[in-house]
């Protein structure tokens, strides 16, 4: 397994391959700022929940970097600890006592693997998409090792993508090449 590039996003910082990217805003506003700077042509972004926005932005920045000799990822393998809890909580608000108006637009995001689907659609990746819920980021290593063991020539967008509360998120996502 070889790491081609890596991005780390917190509510106050963005670091691409060890180099910080300057941002003027923080939290969810920062994700919108990054969208305008690195994408801007994909209004579906505004329909997404924060977890999907986070993964989408990470992929957008990683895949925008010119990568010499590196193939487009064929698989998307992401993990976190709290699944889709932030959006689940938002959906819960639409079915609270006395205010029962369940929102289909929110319900679709009550699954953590939706972020892998969003990235797959954006980049037309028809390979594997998988989402795991793990206690800690290190637990993903054995999963990636065993996945690449079966699919030796895979390049994957893989890593941690978590949003537990409003404005509380963390992503550390890599492009990994296994050849």
């Amino acid at each position: 397994m070889r790491v081609i590039s890596e991005i780390e996003i917190t509510p106050t910082s963005v670091v691409l391959n060890g180099k910080p990217i300057a941002v003027e805003t923080t939290g969810e506003k920062m994700l919108v700022e990054l969208y305008r700077r690195f994408a801007g042509d994909y209004p579906k972004f505004f329909k997404m929940d924060t977890l999907s926005r986070l993964g989408f932005i990470a992929a957008e920045i990683l895949l925008k970097e010119p990568m010499a000799n590196s193939p487009k990822p064929t698989a998307i393998i992401l993990a976190n600890r709290s699944a889709s809890i932030k959006n689940d909580t938002d959906y819960m608000d639409t079915i609270s006592d006395g205010k029962y108006y369940p929102s289909p637009a929110l319900f679709v995001y009550t699954l953590p693997n939706i972020v892998t689907g969003e990235i797959a659609i954006r980049y037309q990746i028809q390979g594997e998409t998988s989402f795991y819920i793990l206690d800690k980021p290190e637990d993903l290593e054995q999963i990636l090792l065993s996945t690449f063991n079966i699919q030796p020539s895979t390049s994957a967008l893989a890593g941690w993508c978590e949003c537990s509360y409003a404005n509380t998120f963390y992503a550390k996502i890599q492009i990994i090449w296994n050849n």
Binding site: M92, I95, P104, V108, T110, G127, T129, S130
Partner: protein, 333 residues
């Protein structure tokens, strides 16, 4: 290739894989109309436990049933990993129940939760196969479970995806799906059981593909599902397959998509197993429940000499939100 060394199903139709198989063979369905189960929710048809169950105890009961039936003493081993397949876990929490279950059995390893929407039960078996084949563990205990709630039923109702009556997969007048509850466990091992006459089945291949088309509707060409079928059929032909366990949710789009994918893979004439009219859509449990029953149905076909010696393969396929599709191939001899 990995060996199944034990399994069980606990559903509203019964406890134990055999009891569930007999219920299906007798044409019994767990589907009923519920009018007051959850506050505010419109009446819905589903297969629910008569007494509402708690997630963790139900999972533990399912694992205990599987290990007791087959007299396995592997749960507390460092060579064993727990893999939980669920979409909503214990009231939206997925990792805590997984840890509680592993700890209950004295297992020292970090559990893995597979949350790949409705394909989770098949994806969890693929994860198990990969971990064992990579030599990271000797045994994997795959538990699939979901409990229905106001959260889930209201969401599917808001999507207008629920049928008001028992679902009719692949019928021209199908109206949507029914939800269901179940817990099921499959134990995979690098080796067949020493004291067993024969493996219950072997898991030969698995594949996961995204349609890259839509988050909540399947591809019109069945692309992802077709790619999965093509992958798991590598090295065999359609006339070596006894049975295909389809997803068959009875939504308009799913069943149309699967029909196209099956035809593209040349599987239109292979017998199909469609289990949603008995269990409803048990979400994270569906792939585990349906794999067990398909394998048992195929075993019966072999024993009853309904199929020839070559037809020992079974395919189980699923599709879900996020555009994800998954399939596995078993050998049942």
């Amino acid at each position: 290739m990995v060996y199944c060394i034990g399994h069980t199903i606990i559903s509203p139709l019964g406890e134990g894989s055999q009891a569930n198989l007999e219920a299906v063979q007798a044409g019994r369905s767990g589907l009923k109309l519920y009018t007051h189960r959850f506050a505010d929710v419109e009446p819905f048809c589903a297969s629910l436990f008569d007494t509402p169950q708690s997630f963790v105890p139900l999972c533990i009961k399912s694992v205990e049933d599987a290990i007791t039936n087959y007299q396995l003493q592997i749960t507390n081993s460092k060579d064993t990993v727990f893999i939980l397949s669920t979409t909503k876990g214990d009231n939206l929490d997925l990792i805590t129940p997984a840890k509680t279950i592993a700890q209950h059995f004295g297992n020292p390893n970090a559990p893995i939760v597979v949350s790949n929407a409705c394909t989770s039960g098949v994806c969890a078996q693929i994860t198990a196969m990969r971990l064992l084949e990579a030599g990271l563990y000797r045994h994997a205990i795959v538990v699939g479970c979901d409990i229905q709630s106001r959260f889930i039923v209201s969401g599917f109702q808001s999507f207008k995806a629920l049928s008001p009556e028992p679902c009719k997969p692949f019928s021209p007048d199908r109206q949507g799906l029914n939800l269901g509850e179940a817990a099921a466990t499959i134990i995979y091992s690098q080796q067949p059981m020493a004291n067993s006459q024969q493996p219950l089945w072997t898991l030969e291949a698995g594949s996961i593909h995204n349609d890259a088309n839509h988050l909540s509707a399947p591809s019109r060409t069945g692309e992802g599902a077709y790619q999965c079928l093509k992958d798991v059929m590598e090295g065999i032909t359609a006339d070596q397959i006894a049975l295909v366990g389809v997803h068959g949710t009875a939504t308009m789009y799913n069943d149309a998509m699967e029909t196209i994918a099956l035809e593209r893979a040349g599987l239109q004439d292979v017998p199909k197993s469609v289990l949603k009219p008995f269990f409803g859509h048990t979400m994270g449990a569906a792939g585990v429940v349906e794999t067990i029953l398909c394998a048992m149905q195929a075993n019966k076909m072999v024993n009853d000499q309904m199929v020839n010696d070559q037809m020992v393969n079974v395919i189980k396929m699923l599709s879900g939100f996020g555009g994800v599709n998954a399939a596995i191939r078993l050998r049942c001899e």
